[in-house]
Amino acid sequence: MTSNIAIAMMNGIVWGLIMALIALGLNLIFGLLHVINMAHGALYMLGAVVAWYLIEFTGSFWIALIIAPLFVGLIGVAIERGLIRTIEDKPIITIICTFGIMLVIQELVLMIFGGAPRRIDSPITQRFPIFELQYPVMRIMIAFISVVLMSGLWIFLKKTKYGLWMRAVVQDREMAAGLGIPVTKVYMWTFAVGSALAAFSGVLAAPIVSVEFMMGREVLIMAFIIVIVGGMGNLAGSVVAAVLISLIQGVGSIFVSPSMAMVFSLAILIIVLLVRPQGLFGE
């Protein structure tokens, strides 16, 4: 029992950090643009698909980990400039629009990449023993990269000029514009960073889950749950909520069936919505 709990807790934290990275991009876009980006899961998938092509071409996972998010970030720029900017003040329309973008990306990938799943080999194959089982080092590495990226984002937001601009725009858009902050540029780069974070998660998760044109759909649902529980627009809240939900699911699945553990975590979502609609850690 002790060994099971230890494995479940470790795996919960690792998986939670991967999910946090996905949710972070979603929350960043919502926090600044107030856009509920339904295409976030598709951008996560696109990151993994682009990485697959890059690995086929270069043979290096690490090159793909750098280039694929940049590529998806540029697509994010195109989406923001071409579509979101024209409808940014209409929340319902943005939901429909990003849902449409999701479908377009999915269908394009289906046409080009095909419907069958593809694999991305794990660049680190070592495992270490943990009680009677083994645990892949790659997962620890992914969790570590997630922490590095999240720390980088925190430093970016707190210590750089662009980060300051972004925080200023969140606080008061008109005042920020009046003070000479290029608000439209901030919006554009925020969407790009959010998209790139989704792609980063896609590339990191691909060696575990394989690549498929529909892989973003399930992830999107979980990312929304994390954002709601953590507080919409609250980045730190997203990280804590992601780890918390994964831990509850992981440890809960020892005592009840894993499906029931999932139900339990969804029940928490409902309770949070009822008791603290602003999320556990506030908006």
């Binding site: 998986w15 095909g114 799943p117 083994q134 399930e218 992830v219």
Partner: protein
Amino acid sequence: MVGDRERANNIFYSQRPSRVDGKLHKGEGFMVEKKPKKKEGILRKEISRRDFIKTTAMGAAGLGIGSWLTVPFTYGAEPPIRIGMFNEYSVFATEYGYWMGKVAKTAVAKMNAEGGIAGRKIELFDYDTKCDPKWAASMFRKMVLEDKVDMVMGSIHSGVQKACFPLAEEYKVPLFSGGAMTYEFTGKDAIPYYIRNHSHARSQALAGWKWAFDNLGKKWTFLNADYAWGHSLAREFGGLIKAAGGKTQDIFAPPATADFIPYLQKVDPDTEVLFTAFLGTAALGVLRQTVEIGLHKRLQRYTVICCTEGIGQDVVGKESIGAYYIEYHPRHLDQVPKELHPYEMAYRKACGVDENGREIGNPKVTIAGSHMYSMWIYPYQIKLAIEQTGWKNRNNNADMIRAIRSQKLKAGPWCPIGDLVMREQDHQGFSDFYISKVEPDLKLKVIERIPKEKVMYPSETDLTKKV
């Protein structure tokens, strides 16, 4: 040669009497072609009456022969036989849909080239189920009411097929299952207008349990997708294992599970056989993660080929080495029984499949070989039934069903999987199964052939009086 532009320049308005006063006025007239200044090519030659008659006669003869050769079904022929088809082309299980559609189209094209059915051309109407039962049912209705199809085939989605059952009965239009694995469709839920020439969960269990029980182990854990198919396999296999004195454990995970560690760590320590059943990325994920946590060292892994149909074994990866599969038709040509080789080779050639089960010209695409054969055989079954019964239109569908359900097909160009026996009582078809093992070169090597007679369980229904 006189080009189009030059000819256009040579056109001018010839004068003709005015409509107003009957006189000739400049600028009024009709278009005629001016003779070119320099005569070239055919225009240089005056056409005589003899030339005209000769050319016209030759042209008419050419057209007549050409149309007779290329369109054998048009003039004076009976209307085409219309077959509706729907498959999973988007959303999910697209690797199946791609091959089901391709094979059906190839089969119909081949049959048309060979003269159609009873001299009638076959028309195929193709739709996407979108993996959505409600949508698929609306497509079924559209095919019947608007496209006027005589029968419908396709789909591996049990929910889609179940949603179409009431429509098949209402319109008396046969529904030929593409690859739905729910056993009950030809069991307690069977309807007279449903026909299935392929395997399902129960026949797979009957084919696969005994060999594995004797050779792999007696303590089984089922880690399956938490929906009807996964439960069905756990129930069918588990029932047989327990009845034989074995022990089973059931774990169900959401169909799109990404992280399997919470589930794998619940596998009983004394488990000897881990049976998994998932589709898509989850199927790959469970195999890979079993190896990642070292579980593969202490137990045998067993699954059905449905899990990785349409996915190359190189994609499944080296983590699948040593895993056992139940196949319903071997993926690799050299694993197909020798006596079936001529038929198999012709079938593969027609469908553009190489000897390793990959698409010719596109080796990244792997066949759904244990499923797609159904769509190759159905047109042939329909042809035999129509020619046997003198079927004319949808009003004779009952006759066609009676003929199809009693068919006993011998191995041949239209039945490359070997003998196929249909059963009258439940409209279920039976053919041979294969147990395969993933070799170090990632090839699915057949290690046991299970004859169809071993999977012919007693029918749970009797449809003979219902059609």
